[in-house]
Symmetry: D2
Subunit: 367 residues, 4 copies
């Protein structure tokens, strides 16, 4: 199935494998007239590259993006924007052994079941490198949202047992700490925790959070295309995410209605909620408040401890994975969550333009 396409009016199609020649994305439906250059996209790609310190894989990819189409004299033309990143650092030899068995927690077995065989080099299409395309496209979406007054940012909320203290929220820390936490103290503790895990050959799970600010009320649809439903899909489609929460998320199942409802009041004449348990979405439509999304991410499945598994030709075996692997997925996935959120929100904003007869008539000069 054509499962590498995302979005309705702002639509992206990603392609590429971990150890193929290149990875990329085609953005179709980008409004014409946006000033765009490679550096705007590169900034996002750099955030998903291996980070500082010891917590991420020593594999070094330049991940230099090239704009191949859709931009003329520095502005988008309205036609497809093709973005490509050449793979330069892959070492196929690293992966030759894993061709023979199914790595626990990976998609080796399910790919074989679905397609009959698989590109076993570095996970092929199921590698984390698949997110290069999404991130490049999300950078363009985020740039448009910025001009619309909408800001999207994500960060690491928790690593194993160590949670960021939101009273110390420091947005600069997100981009400058190795963990992408918005709390430098928690970051330091998490780095130690990760180093200890790495020493034992193990890996660690974590939680990330994404905020959308400045989104007007009225965005999203009421039934299957609810804004929260689409955000859930967008975020759950990031490899290793196992749970998605909107607003207070899981907590609501233990609440009373009187605690959970957000009353309305007037704030300078503007309708505002008194609290934001809802996470900025009511009935699938944005309510003008901050959108809050949280994702729980499993530990990196590639660990260096012995594991029991089965070979492709049907033998039980015990394996020890070698190679280069981050002990945690979250810090590098934060920008991917930001990008998937940006893509989802922008698409909903474009779709929303025709929700009312009044808007339609005004657009075509009849009102």
């Amino acid at each position: 199935m054509a499962g590498s396409t995302y979005g309705t009016l702002f639509r992206i199609t990603t392609w590429g494998e971990s150890h193929g020649k290149a990875l990329g994305v085609v953005i179709d439906g980008c409004p014409a007239g946006l000033a765009l250059e490679e550096s705007h996209i590169q900034k996002y790609l750099d955030r998903r590259r291996p980070g500082v310190g010891n917590i991420s894989t020593p594999r070094k990819e330049a991940d230099a993006v090239e704009i191949l189409s859709g931009v003329f004299e520095g502005r988008t033309t309205g036609t497809p924007i093709s973005l490509m990143v050449r793979n330069t650092s892959q070492i196929s030899a690293d992966y030759s052994e894993i061709a023979s068995y199914y790595r626990p927690g990976h998609a080796d077995y399910t790919f074989d079941q679905k397609y009959g065989f698989r590109d076993y080099r570095g996970g092929g299409r199921s590698s984390g490198r698949e997110t290069v395309g999404r991130t490049a496209a999300g950078a363009v979406a985020a740039r448009i949202l910025e001009q619309l007054g909408v800001t999207v940012y994500a960060y690491t909320r928790k690593i194993g047992p160590i949670e960021a203290d939101m009273t110390r929220f420091d947005r600069d820390a997100i981009l400058s700490t190795p963990t992408a936490m918005p709390d430098r103290e928690a970051d330091r503790a998490a780095v130690s925790y990760l180093e200890e895990a790495r020493k034992t050959g193990d890996s660690v799970g974590g939680c990330m959070e994404c905020i959308v600010e400045g989104l007007p009320a009225g965005i999203g649809d009421p039934v299957f295309e609810k804004l929260d439903a689409n955000l859930a899909k967008a975020v759950m489609s990031i490899g290793a995410v196992k749970a998605v929460e909107i607003g207070d998320g899981c907590l609501v199942s233990s609440r009373r209605g009187s605690e959970n409802n957000d009353g309305f009041r007037l704030n300078d004449g503007i309708v505002t909620k008194m609290s934001n348990h809802a996470g900025g979405i009511l009935g699938g439509i944005s309510d003008g408040d901050r959108i809050v999304i949280r994702a729980h991410v499993k530990p990196t499945p590639s660990i260096f401890l012995p594991q029991k598994t089965v070979t492709g030709d049907g033998q039980e075996t015990e394996i020890r994975i070698k190679g280069r692997h981050d002990p945690i997925i979250v810090p590098r996935a934060v920008v991917v969550m930001e990008c998937m959120t940006a893509l989802t929100v922008l698409d909903a904003m474009l779709i929303n333009m025709s929700a009312k007869m009044d808007s339609l008539l005004a657009f075509y000069g009849k009102k």
Copy 2:
């Protein structure tokens, strides 16, 4: 936007409002030759009707389904199946007051922002009655899955603080208890808890879980159309759901890789996982194990306690909602979760038929 359509090959389009003439669904893409009659669908609709005891709204809808097209001599013809349920019990007078203000926790405000006005009778399209169409369609999907050896069932896992004890799991209890819990003891405790909440005019949240058994490995896609991503969207699109978990869900963010990975072994020569933290999905594709999905549902927003809000013409006010409202959403939403899951899984199975050249060649008699 066309937000009332769901699915790619097995595609449904729902319509109707709480207090309109009727509600319904068109199923397009149902394979030809399925034996189908109204009673198969009615059984599912009956499960989302107000239940026994005091825990659900006294509004009584017969919700009798009529098959209007797509079935000939008792079998589906491959053309659209139109299903309709007439609204018979609506009393518009009940809802006249709420036209003037925005109910906290409801979509009144966001509908007004999006569309400029709203059908205020019983919530219009944002009412729980919108799920009539999904449920009718899901019943057809579930019937096909059954013939494919795939079973889907959902139940109430938790009501407020009271959780079903899964060691006492009793599948019959799901259909026979007022709470749809699979544990009769927890059911009794929950009923008391709900009665106490109802007396205070308050409402309660809860958690529901859905299981898919018998799904072969290889179903789903690896990038944006991951089976878990689509399930997350499907379930989050049910009104009041605020979090979705797959397998161990939120727990994974506190785990080590060595705890969370599911090793593979052979079971009578068949590749099997030793545990199922993954909830039956690896890399977006089913692994042959049970699929496990959990949804956290907020308390019914309609409570009978005083609440602060704003009127449509911009005045702060305090309201007290009247009328008929369940103190909890979960027991009636369980069948809806089951149906959204069935629709998602069936669509993925149809799409999967063309994944391999071998299948394609065999289908057309060339291999």
Copy 3:
């Protein structure tokens, strides 16, 4: 496959068979705030009903449309509009014989090949009655276009050898002549021609034309979603249409570039074409001129002369079709062509709203 849905933002899903309980359509994505009542739609449905004189089938259907959802206090709410027409005049007995063999020119054989069996009553889903849903939806689209200053009208251009003389073009004649020709003289000649054909038990082909006036330049897309490509699909999807032309159509293949190019000039300061060989579309995008589409329609396949065919159980046979059948399809298909064109043009206009950054920024108040 889900082949009964048409459109992206203004999306319709039709359902129903010739001899089922009812036929209908769900319109999803209709902008909120349009004044709409059943009479607006009925006017279009009445045009596809059997006409005056002897040229159309004596079957009399009231085809009374019912709005089941999506309209509140006389205005569309932005949620799905469900429209239904009950079948009241079907006589299943008329069709019992045709269950046994494949009628030449009909879809009996191909339905059996695709689905394994068919609803043989009156052609089931492949009957001309399938167009009830399209027509009802098209009436709503046409109503919106009217408010946008866009007029769509179709008429019979030719019946067998008798062609309307466009120098005598009389728009009133379209709605008042039995042939839907815009030339009363040609209409009279065509009626005689049809009566003569009917007497011999034969049927006749014809050609219809549709004009779109008032469409601004810039509507449509440059590659696969060209406005002319979508119009071609829309019109070719009407049963019995075998060719579609845009502008001068087939004639262009015999032309020189110097004859066929439409030069540009200024008309009161507005860029205008000096001629309209292009039929109002350049590079898939409207150029501000009249859109001209022509469709060639085969003769009614149900004729009363003896025909050779094969039975479902594999015997050669000679048949004589009985029952009630128009000797020509075109006059009743004219309104269907108008409706498919309206649906296509409106969808393109909604999609066009997000083509430019400037429009997007202006819509959200940032410019």
Copy 4:
């Protein structure tokens, strides 16, 4: 809008402009296990390159295709296949003047109206070079069809007044004559005709035809996704096509039913039509006979004669286009028609796999 994507299960997304860095396509949904290498695709791209003799543009593009993803060890993996062709021969200086005015017959004016500005170099996205992506993808589709026993081929039927004599049909001539005509005599006459036109600075229209052989009965859908409707869209989306005919096409509008109906008979026990006026499609579904599609193509709009037009800043002017331009579009478009047809037919075959319960149950081993 996302108008550069085509297909449902076998879905392609094209990108690139005449004078950008590269052009390409992403194929998503290609079944896994197809043996594929660049040479298979190159063969098709070579056919749309400037041909022999004097009839096509002297611009020489190598158009060497590169497979960037989706193929591993010589076989497709089921993940997106990214194909790219670098632009190597563009000379931007050739096109500097045309930036200032609107070329008659081109999309310059409509692009400006839609997007606010345009990439004026060689027509940008509206250039004939846009078909590089479609052709590369179509080559893959054709390769799959071949394995399914389905053959697709197109040829030039007519150039100006000179028509191929089908009694002299010679399939080899299609690939070896400069006009792609299947009749060497007509080819010679057409070449002379084109040379004469070129000398006067003018251009010529023509007609092309495409045949699908070996397609089983039962492919396509009965309402909006009729096989002929989708073919009409596919072919009309090729730049410069102004009319599409299926089977006898325009002729049917002058016929009687008794002439136009194709009777059925048995041929070695197989149901067969006695004639093929229908062009292999009944009710939108293939009937097992040859599919016949015809397209009428306008003369190349770039001519070297003086033409009247308007400048971008609103002045009337007379222009003379310079540069390199074919005097006819058809011979190079033949392979594009073949490719669009192959893409459409293959997608319909994939979709058809789930039309029947029996097929579904058999696929999943339940029958």
